[in-house]
Symmetry: C5
Subunit: 270 residues, 5 copies
């Protein structure tokens, strides 16, 4: 097992009782669009990142400034999840390697506990298998929209998801940070929910899906009423961020070796 | 070697003398269908799961609630395997990685010993090689049905399998949790048996096989007479669970990186 | 390096001075056929196995009883290799992974030394490269049969091989347990020989070769005169065991994940 | 995690306050051409290298003399980055394996701190995705040349890049040594900048790009005014070095095994 | 990092001041042919080998006797490299895995130092990239023969190579044992040279190249005048050894698993 990751945050950050919003990327860049939107709209401040030798060795560059790929932001919008009146946003441009998922999830939850954080909200996306479209919700008569799905670590959270008109995922396998974080929150009895938007494009296409992100942000507005996320220019905003992410992806600026398992010669130069 | 997995269970669980039924998945989702059937029919309660950083990082979601992929359930049906009058069900939605098979098998058996459990029943499935159908039982004149096969860790168990009209596997290689658990039980002299149903579809097809599961459940009825597993609606029930599992599989909700050994760029976003 | 494997045997086993016959599988199932033949013919008893988390997680099932994939058998036929008048047979249904070959070879030899065993005989097989048939023995004018080859760890053993009309391998690379065991025996000055039979079929075909096994067993008769291995029904016997092994192979009963390096989703169910 | 790499340098080297110029190779051999150019033009002296068992096992040979693949050179040209009046050049012919990127970056920065070095300049290159050419700078109206991009670890560095007419990278993911070194410098508040030249050829072609290197060297002239890098014969010089690198690549002199994960037989001879 | 390899030699071996000749195999079996030639011609005696669990698990068999794949031989021909009047030959039939190259190189040099050995000579081969033949030596006007290349760890060694009419490699990347051993000798200031012969056939063909070996042996005659390597029957001798190596390769005698990363089932039998 890799050495345990450690989360440190600037000691003067006032995050007690804050809602932790996690945005680890999966399909359609949906959680990334949401993360970038929240950082801008809520004027969140970068406070720290996670470093680990087994994470992909990359930096996110914004306006010429290098940032760690998994980043923590804080700010103080009011929200109505439990007692929280602040927000801690976890944004990531990398997928966490499988072997680090459980250690990082545990480090995050230990850190949340030490800092007395308030609750957890995980932003994610999903696609349906190509050959069996929409079968996932077959039989869900009470579903108003089939493009969002919720998971609640506690009964309280599942109740709140229903009140927000987010249908619960009936049967499914969730992998990665979302799956493991939710499982750990259930085990520890922590109030956390995950909301997953269906990304329109196929999983493999890799295109950012601003509309899926916009549907998620609309739901966040219920949880963060004090900040009045304006729904009017939402699509426009999301599409602007989508463009930024496309831009980010278009720069093939890689110093790492393309194929770790390659031959010796492939490690030389080209 | 990975750190040893530890099995913990809620201290107030009354499981002394219980029959342990293990359902690790192989072909045709057979053991999963049986596990879901038993949980529902015997009204078993989830008590704990196995966590390990080297297990696939996933959660099983049911009705919006996240569960660990390897789960323990308990309940108190009467059964007639040795002195047991309770049941501990181990259900899994993941295959255990090869390097963890022996450590997890040993942890399970240590835990069984500490809790003074009564006996073991392993549910599994098999397929025959395409080019040599049915050759496996050639020469078994006393076989009534060739769609079930039994393995007994002790002479007593092999005798009981025969009494249940489950033919013994004459020659075969069994891999994974079933192979290693049975081998360890033999070494330790523990009363454990494995019953494997032939899954009709080819191994690679990956389709759930409710009928193979139903044949297994009929045999379980012999071992668990106190609970009266009704054979009448069995196929219907099994098919309903089969549908649930198809549903589960149809949701492509993956936050983990698709290819661990991929290039750096494949870890970014899509 | 993986943790060292440990060999333990029932303390009441009388194996001092015994001949150790090792049958690790390579091409044509030859060593497996020989091992099964010796177990049956010499009425050997299973005494222990090797367990290691890095070995493939499998059991061999025979008549419904699960056995470890690397097994030790003992018995007391007379033989004329040095002072031995007993036999320890090592049978295996798995190939030892490369990284475990040296540790297991060393554990076996340490164990042989502690138990004061008498000598070693390694049974193996080989094939010739398709494009250069028989070139391996070019120039060996004194060779009567070109279908067996011998290696001797000591001068004494090489002399005995010649007396048995087993030609020595002139130039060759031997990999796996046979190569490393023989090298270690030479280094330690232990009396050990390897006899390799040419398997008729190509290496990749994977078909059992009973005739190659029979040729080996004929030579063993010289080493084990007290047991009178009857050469008459030898081919018939070997072919019967060949059939059992085919049977064993035809059962696709695998609970382990097919591709360790696969994606996360491939670890779910099918 | 691999053991930490250690950087040692000859104790009499006077490098206090020196500018560290890092040239780890990515696309188009650009940083290698720059490194070779600076070594020759500034008459830098080889002082030490990095050794680690997990680095590719290679030597760079120049004029019959073997050198480590990651090399440090020193010299004393005047420059105007902060208080530096000396230079330490890090040249590399190998890409650092992903798992070593963070440990080596940290070792370099620790070493820089202990030796009281002055500032950092990272030379790198980039290409644009084939299907979306030039989209990376869309909207950058104030960009004079789109073939260079800058990243600054501090506000001061970003300001200096602008003064040098090097446009900042607006949005991008930077991997490898450049990404991680810049991220660590930001975290530690160290004055470091990266300048990346667009390599004309496609990333996969692997051809050295002397013109991209020449554009970089022109910018270095601003930072190193005391040495008067003559721009006149620059292209000619860069092309000469490009030829040397082609020469270097044309020698297939490999003693290492071509495919680490190959079969046993592939490790024998050929 | 793997555990450090240890080199031990029989304590009564008189090797102080000996020339160490290393013959690790690369292209065309050239170094193997040279090693076998020297062992026979100089009547060298096998003294020890290197054992490590991460080396390929193989033995070299000669005349029925198993030998370790990396072997040390000693003898006492006179030579004129420094003060040496003895020889230690390192012969290998395997390529050293990348991760072991640095540890083994360091173990060899530590051992050389402890035994006060005299100097090092590394025998190797190279091929040129198919598409740019001979470009490697472009501009070397003073080259008499372009089929040998030299590398010298010290200025003294480079001078001696020139006196022997072996042109220095101007620019190149050398990987494997030769690259790392030469780099370490330079770092430690040890007198070592490498002579590489161009193997005529393509690298991938894998055919032994006796003529390339003969060119190398001619140069060795300069270094080992006391032994009078007869150049007359050299090609004939080299070709005879080439035949032995072909013979060695033609025996497909492998007990190791063909594909370490294969599926579980591939580890069973065939």
């Amino acid at each position: 097992m890799a050495p345990l990751p450690v989360v440190r945050i600037k000691p003067d950050s006032d995050i007690e009782g804050a809602l932790v919003v996690s945005c680890f990327p999966t399909v359609g860049y949906v959680s990334s669009i949401v993360a970038h939107y929240l950082v801008e709209r809520l004027e969140l401040n970068f406070v720290c990142g996670i470093r680990h030798a087994d994470l992909p060795p990359v930096s996110l560059v914004q306006d010429g400034s290098p940032m760690p790929p998994i980043r923590f932001y804080t700010g103080e919008p009011l929200c109505n999840v439990g007692k929280c009146d602040k927000i801690v946003l976890i944004a990531s441009e990398i997928k966490v390697p499988s072997k680090l998922v459980l250690p990082i999830a545990e480090a995050l939850l230990e850190w949340s506990k030490e800092n007395n954080l308030g609750g957890g909200l995980i932003i994610d996306a999903f696609t349906k298998s190509g050959d069996q479209p929409h079968q996932i919700l077959e039989g869900d008569d009470d579903v108003k929209t089939d493009t969002l799905l919720g998971i609640g670590a506690t009964e309280e959270m599942r109740k709140q998801l229903k009140e927000m008109d987010v249908p619960l995922l009936k049967h499914g396998i969730i992998s990665g940070m979302t799956g493991v974080l939710m499982g750990e929150c259930r085990r520890r009895g922590l109030d956390a929910m995950a909301i997953l938007a269906e990304a329109n494009g196929p999983a493999a296409s890799g295109f950012p899906d601003a509309r899926a992100a916009a549907r998620l942000i609309e739901k966040l507005d219920i949880l963060l009423p004090a900040v009045h996320l304006e729904t009017e220019p939402l699509i426009t905003e999301a599409e602007r961020i989508e463009d930024q992410i496309r831009e980010m992806m278009s720069a093939n600026i890689q110093g790492g070796d393309e194929s770790e398992s390659g031959t010796d010669s492939s490690m030389l130069y080209g």
